[in-house]
């Protein structure tokens, strides 16, 4: 009876009291985002609308204002803004950033695990690919939700390739041959050299790699048999042989005249315009390059001019591979727990296949979940469909290790030293090894 009365009282109270409106402002900062990436923020806005409607049906009034910002001064400026904001206690509620930030930011206490607020086994998060979810996890906790997926293919210019004597059928078989390890980086180098010698491309344009450090170079390390972490202990792994062979490969490319000695540091704008218009025979990039080539750079026949494969294997020890470097939605630690909860729910809703597909197709990224392939917008896009099929099953990610940043920087510095001829590959590898052993200590295994 007593229970009954209190229940009645509760109902009466709820009915009589005016519905209390809850106003909440959610800020979203998206790093490394250009104009075509606006759905990183807009999807949170759409999610906010959904959540408010759901609340209204329950009889609650929830007003969410979403404030977005994506004009940062590069990655450095963005990361500084987030970390300093977090120190000062006014970090944005949601950040879209590289999954590599999870380890340092989690350990600094800047972010909170998304698994504390949402059901990972429920829709739509149970639709997200398991390996992508894994990339947004660290130390046994699910910190974030993948915002997009991508992968980094190897490209070749079909016209040049045909002039080297490859037929249409050869090109169709290329991705399978690369995957099987029948066409290696060494074969590519020989072809690139031929292309330069035959005058199909200018000197230095046979193989035209990325102009700055990035996940791409981890791929070449893997091509030569390197692994980034030791699966047993989770420590970072420095494979001396693989590293030396990878450095040697770039040195050989320079010596053969297919890659410029001063290539690193080339302007990105120049680089994009050159590769999109057939000035280079072979190069590598990311799935989002499709948007740039066909958009700003004006390549109107992408599939007729550009072929793509995995990054070929370098030798027998290595494998054809590609790295996916998904951006993730992360929640920052806030005074107000309710804000974290709302932010988490918004992130979950923004991961709905339909919403994520808007971003994927608009920005030439790949789907984060299985169901997206069933949507017309996704399956109707040839690039998304083909890239998903050829690349995504073979994609691995860089490790979420607090010291991976130092590892990656050192690896690239060494590569640059060998590439520009300042040091021999052996010297460069020895120096990188010395530096990493000194800085990482027990967290590194040298093999």
């Amino acid at each position: 009876m007593k229970k009954m009365t209190s229940a009645l009282a509760l109902i009466a109270a709820t009915a009589a009291a005016p519905v209390l409106a809850e106003d909440i402002t959610i800020t979203v900062w998206a790093g490394g985002s250009n104009d075509s990436d606006h759905y990183r923020i807009d999807n949170i806005r759409i999610a906010a609308d959904m959540l408010s409607r759901e609340a209204a049906i329950r009889g609650e009034e929830l007003n969410i204002t979403v404030e977005g910002k994506r004009d940062f001064d590069g990655w450095d400026g963005f990361k500084q803004a987030v970390t300093l904001g977090a120190e000062a206690g006014n970090a944005p509620n949601i950040v879209v950033t590289s999954h590599l930030d999870i380890a340092p930011w989690a350990s600094a206490g800047y972010i909170v695990p998304v698994e504390d607020y949402v059901d990972l086994d429920a829709w739509p998060l149970n639709n997200v690919y398991g390996n992508l979810m894994e990339i947004a996890a660290f130390d046994g906790m699910q910190w974030g939700v993948p915002q997009d997926a991508e992968s980094r293919p190897f490209f070749y210019w079909k016209e040049t390739f045909a002039a080297l004597g490859y037929s249409e059928a050869d090109m169709d078989a290329m991705s399978a041959r690369v995957e099987a390890g029948e066409y290696t980086l060494r074969d590519m180098l020989a072809d690139a050299r031929k292309a330069v010698d035959m005058g199909l491309v200018e000197k230095g344009y046979g193989f035209y790699p990325r102009v700055s450090n990035g996940p791409d170079y981890a791929q070449f390390y893997q091509s030569f048999g390197g692994e980034l972490t030791d699966p047993e202990t989770g420590k970072l792994l420095f494979d001396r042989t693989a590293m030396t062979e990878m450095y040697q490969f770039f040195v050989d490319a320079v010596d053969a005249g297919v890659t410029r000695r001063n290539h690193i540091g080339t302007e990105w704008d120049q680089w994009y315009s050159e590769v999109a218009n057939g000035k280079a025979a072979f190069w590598h990039g990311g799935t989002w390059h499709y948007g740039r080539y066909t958009g700003k750079e004006g390549n109107e026949d992408f599939f007729g001019t550009v072929g793509f494969t995995l990054i070929p294997a370098g030798n027998d020890a290595g494998r054809a591979n590609t790295v996916t470097h998904p951006l993730v939605y992360l929640l920052t630690d806030q005074e107000d727990d309710r804000a974290e909860e709302i932010a988490a729910q918004l992130v979950a809703i923004a991961s709905e296949p339909r919403l994520n597909t808007l971003h994927a197709i608009k920005s030439s990224h790949l789907a984060i979940g299985k169901a997206e392939a069933g949507l017309d917008l996704y399956s109707g896009d040839r690039w998304a469909a083909e890239a998903t099929e050829v690349l995504l099953p073979h994609a691995n990610a860089q490790p979420n290790h607090p010291n991976y940043g130092a590892f990656s920087e050192a690896m690239f510095k060494g590569l640059e030293a060998a590439w520009t001829g300042v040091q021999t590959p052996e010297e460069a590898v020895a120096e990188v090894e010395a530096q990493l052993t000194a800085t990482l200590g027990d967290e590194l295994i040298v093999r």
Partner: protein, 433 residues
């Protein structure tokens, strides 16, 4: 203290405050940071206490006993009488009884598995995600991954867990997520071969740029000195442009001038020169342009200072020299230059110090390339502390780089002051003694 002194101090106080905040404090902070292992991972304002999965394998190395590690490593969630009692208190006896029947005595590795178990409640299900999260938390028995705000909270938690007394101190220290004081940054700087290369690069950069700065500034000042004043002013205004242009724009113009399809390559192409990136082709190219880029900025400042001090030299001395038959060169060499000692001292020391710490033009032009051959000390400090693609910025190590610059700067200033006999410059004029 007299009223006048107080009044004086009162007037000075805003300036003193500014000096403290913008000059002294950064140096003090640099010194403090240099002796810490501060990075993005440790945060800036201090840490909390947490043992995470990946910490477990590090623990034996820092002196935590095996049995303590085993205690920590146990499964995260357990359905046992104590946890069930808590659950019953919050969510009702029926649910607790049903869960006990379903999973009594079970252990779960993570929160997700615990929630799955809770979802199996049928009679009176926990329908809301939030309730399941709260309920799952009640079954948590491990402290793995939990953050404790204070040392005491953590100490309490490990005591509850039954960690032996002898392991507690080492464990607490290992669990601290914030920064600690250390001298390892300096050991690291000493050990790393790259450090010495950056030091050498800095020497090359400062010496060459300084020579260009002072030499060219002096040349401009002297050459405009003999021009009619209106023409001279026009020339000086033009030479002053590099200093007032925003660095990004100024360097962008150099980029356009030097890249493969830039002005220099285009001009030289008809003469049979291969187009190359003139700024980044080799280290020599890079240094040449870095010296030119910085030198033109520095020279304009030198020019202004030298020009004004040239004008302070009484014209009568030049007339006298002319009467004695001295030509322009002899005037410069024997009349003007000897009186330019102080301005040259000032520009030299000022520029040395500012060049040592300046890196923005190098960052914009070559970013230390090709192959880190133009990576100067200050740029290395920036790259270490503020720029890392992988996200972990090493503030402590960066500060150690910066501290070395502060020390070198102070030593050099003292040296310059002695060498150029600064005390004579500031001595009281004899006539007033």
């Amino acid at each position: 203290m007299t009223r006048q002194t107080l009044l004086g101090l009162g007037f000075l106080s805003p300036a003193l405050l500014a000096v403290m905040m913008f000059f002294l404090l950064p140096v003090v902070l640099t010194v403090v940071f240099a002796f810490t292992n501060m990075s993005t991972s440790t945060g800036i304002l201090g840490g909390e206490y947490q043992i995470s999965e990946s910490d477990l394998r590090r623990l034996p190395a820092v002196g935590v006993g095996e049995d303590a590690v085993a205690l920590l490593a146990g499964a995260g969630y357990a359905v046992q009488p104590e946890t069930l009692a808590q659950f019953a208190a919050e969510f009702g006896e029926d649910r607790a009884a049903e869960l006990d029947k379903l999973h009594g005595g079970a252990k779960f590795d993570d929160q997700r598995a615990m929630e799955r178990a809770l979802k199996e409640l049928r009679r009176n299900p926990l329908r809301k995600v939030r309730d399941r999260k709260t309920a799952a938390d009640l079954f948590r028995v491990s402290i793995l991954g939990q953050r404790f705000a204070t040392r005491d909270d953590f100490a309490l938690a490990i005591t509850d867990l039954g960690v032996p007394e002898r392991d507690r101190l080492a464990l607490t220290e290992a669990a601290y997520t914030g920064w600690t004081f250390t001298t390892q940054n300096f050991e690291l700087l000493w050990e790393l071969p790259a450090t010495w290369r950056y030091a050498l690069n800095s020497v090359i950069y400062v010496v060459l740029t300084l020579a260009f700065n002072v030499g060219f500034g002096l040349f401009l000042a002297l050459s405009t000195f003999y021009l009619p004043s209106r023409t001279a002013q026009t020339f000086r205004a033009i030479w002053f442009l590099p200093r007032i242009l925003p660095p990004v724009l100024y360097v962008l113009m150099w980029q356009w001038l030097t890249w493969d399809q830039g002005f220099i390559s285009a001009m030289l192409r008809p003469f049979g020169f291969e187009p190359i990136n003139w700024m980044r082709h080799t280290a020599t190219h890079a240094w040449t342009f870095i010296v030119l880029i910085n030198g033109c900025v520095g020279a304009s400042l030198g020019m202004i200072l030298f020009s004004s001090s040239l004008r302070a030299i009484p014209e009568t001395q030049l007339f006298a020299a002319q009467v004695d038959g001295a030509n322009r060169w002899q005037q410069v060499r024997h009349v003007l230059l000897p009186q330019m000692r102080w301005p040259i001292l000032f520009i030299t020391s000022y520029q040395t110090l500012s060049l040592l710490t300046s890196f923005e033009y190098i960052l914009l032009a070559t970013d230390g390339g090709p192959g880190r051959q133009t990576e100067v000390w200050a740029l290395a400090a920036y790259h270490t502390a503020l720029s890392n693609y992988g996200g972990n910025l090493e503030y402590g190590l960066g500060a150690a780089y910066a501290l070395a610059l502060v020390i070198i700067g102070i030593l050099l200033s003292a040296l310059y002051l002695r060498f150029f006999k600064f005390s004579e410059l500031v001595a009281k004029p004899r006539i007033e003694q």
